[in-house]
Amino acid sequence: MNLDFSQIVPYIPFMLEGIWVTLKFVFFAIILGSILGTVLALFKIGSAKSLRWFADAYTSIFRGTPLILQLMIIYYSIPQLTGYDILPFLSAILAFGLNSSAYISEIIRAGIQAVDKGQLEAAQALGVPHGAMMKDIILPQALKNILPALMNEFITLTKESAIVSTIGYLDLMRRAQVVGADLFRNFEPLLFVGLIYWCLVMGLTVIGRMVERRLKLSD
């Protein structure tokens, strides 16, 4: 076995920096995906037919094509079509945010529809306006039901973020490849960032459990 982890030691700070780079765009992508996903979910359960149609079409396109393709289209075609030289960072946020909003909207829609219809009727009977009812009564209860599915989506997004290495964004994955090319040894740096990805996901898992426990207070 030809393994020598001591060789990657000088590159460790360089690779660790990738954690921040990866987390930065994953964070914004999750925010964008959650906001857009909530809006799309509200479209889907709303009464306006055109909005429902839009949200369904949106979901079908972003779920129906590969994420890597969406990323490439955003990164390469925006400069071609508009002349605006889009940064890998912004392309990554857009591609991942838009893509995951399609999945998140489905999760939230199912969560809202699983809330007991009596909750809606009770709020209506009290004369609570529709917006306040969704925000204060329906969504918090839906959130509690969908939290595991939502955490799953965030974990997937964090891992799949490695795809941005294909557009030259210096994330964790890309840094492992750079180090590998430098050393002519790939296994060690790849294994090293693999461990980092695993730690990130474990961190997310722990946060998810904590939130879940807090939401369970009312049981």
Binding site: A122, L126, D136, P140, L217, S218
Partner: protein, 240 residues
């Protein structure tokens, strides 16, 4: 106070309410009885437009509900409703359940809403449960909280949709007591119920529905002793 004219409701081809006309005075307690599937609950739910009537008109305090759905929030704020299955907000404490709608729908200050809420909890005998979550309460306690929640909006009319049907027998009484007190205080109440004792004792008037038709109405005493219609006689024979 309430004036219902020729109210009908269809679910698809199924006629569940047929041509119901009735008026109810302020301060009256009306019990609606009848076999299951007779349209009692649907009738009640039409009164605050949880169900949209297919035809006919409903007027409450001179406002026509059926003309347009605009401003329905304001009208619903004056109509309290108590459901068979309570429908308390599970993610809020008992106190928050009572404070939420007055603050959100009527813009009442938090301090005032809390004062009113505590006073109402006292009234239904649950002051010590203010900070509990609904899931930790018994069925009877839940229903009393639900009544207090509806009262927190200071409604002029209270609708009860089988308020004791989902309760264990030993908890029925505590809920009926609260309702009796409410009736004594002069609240206008419409109660869909299977509690014939309650109807006899508390109601000013009994409506008997069968297959969506208002078959008979009258004072409880004469109604229970000498029902005029065959269908009411049949029904009473079965339940009493």
């Amino acid at each position: 106070m309430i004036d219902v004219q020729a109210l009908s409701k269809k679910f698809g081809d199924n006629l569940v309410l047929s041509d119901i006309t009735i008026s109810i005075q302020k301060g009256e307690v009306v019990a609606i009885i009848g076999p299951s599937g007779s349209g009692k609950s649907t009738f009640l739910r039409c009164l605050n437009l949880l169900e949209t009537p297919s035809s006919g008109s409903i007027e409450i305090n001179g406002k026509n509900l059926t003309a347009s759905k605009k401003g329905i929030h304001k009208i619903r704020q004056q109509i309290g409703m108590v459901f068979q299955h309570f429908h308390l907000f599970p993610h809020m404490t008992v106190l928050e359940n009572l404070m939420y709608a007055p603050m959100k729908a009527k813009g009442i200050k938090k301090y005032d809403a809390e004062g009113k809420a505590r006073q109402l909890l006292e009234r239904v005998g649950l002051a010590q449960k203010a900070d509990a979550y609904p899931n930790s309460l018994s069925g009877g306690q839940k229903q009393r909280v639900a009544i207090a929640r509806a009262l927190a909006m200071e409604p002029e009319l209270m609708l009860f949709d089988e308020p004791t049907s989902a309760l264990d027998p030993e908890m029925v009484k505590e809920v009926l007591e609260v309702m009796k007190d409410l009736a004594k205080s002069g609240m206008t109440m419409i109660v869909v119920t299977h509690e014939m004792g309650f109807a006899k004792e508390v109601a000013d008037r009994v409506l008997f529905l069968d297959h969506g038709v208002l078959v008979e109405e009258g004072e409880p005493e004469s109604f229970f002793k000498h029902p005029a219609s065959e269908r009411a006689r049949d029904f009473l024979d079965k339940v009493l």
